[in-house]
Subunit: 197 residues, 2 copies
Amino acid sequence: MSSTKDIDALIDLMAKMPGLGPRSARRAVLHLIRKRSLLLTPLADIMQVVAETARECLNCGNVGTTDVCDLCTSNERANGEICVIESVADLWAMERSNVFKGRYHVLGGTLSALDAVGPQELRIPRLLDRVETEEVTEVILALNATIDGQTTAHYIADQLEGRVLLTSLAQGVPIGGELDYLDDGTISAALRARKSL
Amino acid sequence: MSSTKDIDALIDLMAKMPGLGPRSARRAVLHLIRKRSLLLTPLADIMQVVAETARECLNCGNVGTTDVCDLCTSNERANGEICVIESVADLWAMERSNVFKGRYHVLGGTLSALDAVGPQELRIPRLLDRVETEEVTEVILALNATIDGQTTAHYIADQLEGRVLLTSLAQGVPIGGELDYLDDGTISAALRARKSL
């Protein structure tokens, strides 16, 4: 392909990243080589650092570079509220909305009988521990509105019932959403949860 | 965004790659961290190597890890034919077709009055040198079929006229192409260059 095995090896690895195929990997590698000091060298350095230091937070399952992540140790965040999400990507999405100022708990997936994922495979026992030890008053179940996500939410709700206030994200029309493009389930959920103006 | 500045820095740099935006960069970084030993560490290592060793071939302008690239030094390639292309990406595309077995010459762009790109900014003087010194018999102008590409091809043809056999890539219907989807220019070029069966 190219004339040098190192460059070919870089292209092959880049092509394994989500969102890049062989063609876009070649384009990206040429771009990286052109922008060597601005992009390629810093990228190599920071990848090395992240490869050595990235780990799961022992408390909440977030990705960070310390044993307990910044969100768990921060003094600026309220104790007492835990927001339960499926994945780190979901945690980052919640953080971008910049509304929730409590703590998080990343499950690392959803319960799934088909894939043999039980509560022990997820971070559910740790969540139950945290509710006991951290004086939690509210658990917000921010799981995806999929069947697996909602099954998992129900399981956790069963485990925690009576011990803590349980809430879930509101369901309805997304901001900027047009009714014509929404599925029936969303519309009926929005209608059932209608509010007076 | 995330909770750690190193991971954020990695996401920011990844988002500067062609084909990736902020959202896909976040997805890619989570994937890289999950596949640390399989993907992230090797990628960091090979990027370091390429950042330190990648350079332009002094002879033909190809990207490689030596002063003169493998294609220029290979004994298995014929001297006497030089294929002129605009960019390294075009050279790689030619190599994938696996038909041409001569030498290459990468111009590094096209002539452009608007962008003040003259022959000196491209690798054109070096091409004229090579035609003199390498006993070249044929120069294949494989420039893009764009206005700038064809202008550059004409300029080079003027410079080399009478000194060497000049050829260009055939124009016509691409393999697998459907007439209905082709532009008028391609169809009229294919019709003018029609061949008897």
